[in-house]
Symmetry: D2
Subunit: 343 residues, 4 copies
């Protein structure tokens, strides 16, 4: 770390900081400047030491140098990780993995019809929510276990792997019995009890970025899962909250190459939440693939204007098929065609 | 609601929207304009209807009119709610409630010393974390049940009421046995399973605003707790995430009078997280009181540079006593002196 | 517009709002609801009327319906506009226009070397700043008129068209004498005197989005130029300011298809400022093209680590050539190959 | 500065960075760590050197240590600056300076009536716009020179000093002939040609923070004016752009004590723009005074629902008088009563 002292910091203040640093077993290195003194350190620095000196008299600022995430870091694990969702490999230069389906599992008919349609269009994984986080307590919160059973039936019929959200530690076992991949939603990205719980079971985890989480915070949340022993984590960019009002979120396309640079974990893109407008989903999906995404997560509904949630950002079957044809061209241009269903 | 059609929307598109609205038992009212058609509605509109029409052909935008929160709304409950934390009334024009203490319960000595100091300076409620949410899995995560026992001892000795955080539904019973008020932290503001759980037990709830939650989302999260039957909710403004880099968060002082206008629930301010710099805590605390806050939540530590978390935003005992003297002057100027400890 | 009254608004308050609306020559349409009254309007509504009623007793909210921009709107001009920069057509399905060059014109040698390199790699337009906006008064602010002369020489030699920034109305004539296109930088997007000035001369204008401007505000600023008679405006997405710290800005890829939907004006992308990191420029450039951008604006420098500004986001000649090869594949996949230099 | 190398940076890469640093006349100090190498520097570091090394092979990050603003910094000028607006001293512990008046000068009657009312209520300075920046080209843009003449008449009658906005360098002379203080609006905070122009004339400058400017950028813009020789700059916090939708802006109350800590310049608060809702102006004004503001800037209009701009955030005469009574109590509690008009 680097400790920047205030202009006019006294020698006793500087000495006190050096002494405090030594208490953590770290060697301070004074770096006198024309305007002010800074103090560097040799060797490993704990975050605790940085926090400790930050409030000392004469200190202006403390700058950490080591990255706080380890197992998620490409500096620790250099080569791409491949995460298998059912039979579908995600990441590591494998074919593009398309996950599609309704926001909510509303009925057996709606789900099976959607599963057949997305499979026919080339998706390999079915997504759909049985347990739904909703900002109002008065809106539809999902079919729960009944929804899981419908998902299992859809897999049996179509061969699609299943990804579905889990909201609380108490539901992890039930969801993990059915799902091929557990989704942690954006609102729960820093629900640490839940991260611990999915980290202690073996099914892969799709971790969505919180709506105002930094890239570093996303990687730290992945670190929670990895640190508990589950090394199968897929990162998902799904848009961040900004001041822009036309769109529901701002899809952070920068995050895709940035995450791939900082981490070895696969990165997928959710253009449905990332835009919140069905008519922006296709161009932003193409953008994500061009930027290097390992997969896509797309909301599809037989009749978006009758959906119980997120209809305004869901594609019809026809629009989804059209999207897949466009994605195919871009995916080939970047050298990774779309993965077929595990049939 | 108001449905705004696109310029050039066709009559069949307009008719289809009107028909779809009628399916929800609502009467559409066409409002032709020079540039485009809009459609208003009579009577109550469900959010589901708004979502349904938003994706229909020819629709440009749907504008909801009713507020989505009910029990939290001042339109439903006109007079201020008073929430009792131990013996301390919060809100409703009662004296200013000051909650102070360490970020984390680190030891018995640290906690008891802090409890005595904040009581001596005039605080009525002790705050401190036994279960800590931390963005990295490698940092101190709290003493857990041992911390709760220390808090109980501090209450027995000092008479201070206790507010402490709960992180997951599985811990609600244990925390509620000891705490006088359960804190829901910013990261869990939309952890709905947890909101349901604290809504189903009788202890008051201190609900912190998520770091990028809108005021409406905060009130919707309060609605979750209220809808489960627990009517004792205190709202807490603790700073929001912005682009500003000097401060950890931007304290949203607008939110204090705005929440008091929209809702009958008490509103308290956390200038420690709201600024993230110990030297900004005092002026921002004064600002919050001047803006109408019903209470303050302040981090205090015997030795901030040795704190295991948040040292850079904690006040020393001396600085806290000085803050209380300044707060007293502002609190009197706005007609609500500081509440004494429930001794 | 729609005027939403407060719950409990009185009949005299409602009548007063209706009367006030009539003063603007507009017909109010009362829309009683179960919870509250709303008032719609027939016919055209001026923004002034909306502002007028917003502060009246009993009014909760005023929702405008008409879009505030006209000449920039696709509702007014349905088909794509094509803007010619020198001999290069931008927009309207024409080939992808690549504008490349140094952040600042630093010397004749640097500029000519860069012009030759970007032309060889396939760019059609040379970009480079003679007048530079810098956040500190102590940094290099450009060569001024000497820089313009160097740009003219580069055009004469290479045939590349020239785009360069103008900072203040007093410089518009001098810049317009040399440039094929005048750039309005992000910091000046709402410098209305400057927008008026470039609107009153005939050279095309490249209008960069302000770092925290909404899409609507960008289109309103374009409207300033269009309203003065200059119909040749190119819109430029260059990243917005968010909380993310790894990147300098967050490139808003949503804005590309959104602007193309709302407006007929061409849209180009600046991945150099949109990311602020040279190693993210290529993937984000590809994303922008896949999302439908009509052109790219890329910073290129012979020796980025010796650049007087923005070195950390500039590409070397080699990296730029490599980018162009990748762009070519994506551009072909979306059906619009790269435009060659006007040779 | 501190140069942080990538993990795995090679010795030749490290040597190259050290050599490049030496080219700027600066001494590099290698600081080997367990995970990676960092390089500190002795002595003054130019921003140019930091930019230069940031893009070199093996470099992960460059952290500047010196603050980029000088004349605006409290490290350079330790004691509070006092700026005189007409006869009214602002800053340096002087009495609270209240600047009030209409958003736009609409007519002689409106302006004189407002001037009399705000003077009667205790304001010392009249604010009002003759040249108005408006996001749409189709809205009222001010009376221009005629408005300046009305302001001069209001001063002659009431003795109030005058602050009014200037939009472009070409208007500086005309505005400076009449105004006692030139306002630079939020949209022009980084209009450097304008900052240069007001820096070269002697009237004080009220510099409003850009809607998404950091505190550091605000101080750098002040530095532009100071560097040109005008040492009379007043900083103004007027709310920043965030995701919150209920309010027009988020008033950043943290910025008030932060600016006073970083700079010697006076700091005033604009709660009208900072909230955008007339009913939030009073509580936020009180908050700003409690937090240490040296003055207030408040929009007042004889009939807000007939205002040509910003009616929804303007106070009536009656509400302004009520605000002044409340401000008086807080101002006395923090030891600085309201300044009377310079009569």
């Amino acid at each position: 770390m680097l400790v920047v002292m205030k202009r006019g910091a006294t020698q006793p203040e500087i000495d006190a900081v050096c002494d405090r640093i030594k208490e953590f077993g770290i060697t301070p290195v004074p770096l006198p400047g024309v305007e002010r003194m800074a103090i560097g350190t040799f060797g490993s620095t704990s975050r605790a030491a940085a926090d400790a000196v930050e409030s000392m008299p004469g200190v202006s600022e403390v700058v950490p140098v080591s990255r706080p995430f380890k197992l998620a870091s490409r500096e620790v694990i250099a080569s791409d990780s491949v995460v298998r969702v059912g039979g579908v490999p995600v990441g590591g230069g494998h074919a593009l993995a398309v996950m599609a389906g309704p926001c909510s599992i509303e009925s057996r008919d709606q789900t099976l019809a959607t599963a057949r349609a997305v499979r026919a269009a080339g998706a390999a994984i079915l997504r759909g929510g049985a347990f739904k986080p909703r900002s109002s307590p008065y809106t539809f919160r999902g079919l729960g276990e009944e929804g899981l059973a419908i998902l299992a039936e859809a897999r049996a019929e179509t061969g699609l792997a299943i990804v579905t959200e889990v909201l609380t530690p108490g539901d992890v076992d039930a969801v993990a019995r059915v799902a091929d991949c557990l989704q942690i939603g954006a609102r729960n990205m820093q629900n640490y009890a839940l991260l611990d719980a999915v980290g202690e079971q073996p099914k892969p985890v799709l971790l969505k970025r919180g709506m105002s989480a930094t890239v570093e915070e996303l990687l730290l949340s992945a670190e929670y899962v990895l640190a508990r022993g589950n090394r199968s984590v897929i990162l998902c960019e799904r848009g961040i909250r900004t001041f822009e009002k036309y769109t529901r979120n701002t899809f952070d396309v920068n995050a895709i190459p940035l995450l791939r640079r900082l981490s070895h974990l696969p990165v997928v893109a959710d253009p449905s939440h990332g835009t919140g407008k069905w008519y922006l989903v296709a161009p932003v999906a193409l953008a994500a693939v061009a930027a290097g995404a390992d997969g896509l997560l797309v909301e599809v509904h037989p009749s978006p204007d009758h959906a119980l949630s997120d209809g305004f950002q869901s594609l019809t079957f026809e629009n989804f098929a059209s999207l897949m044809a466009q994605v195919d061209r871009i995916a080939r241009a970047v050298g990774r065609p779309i993965a077929g269903a595990a049939a």
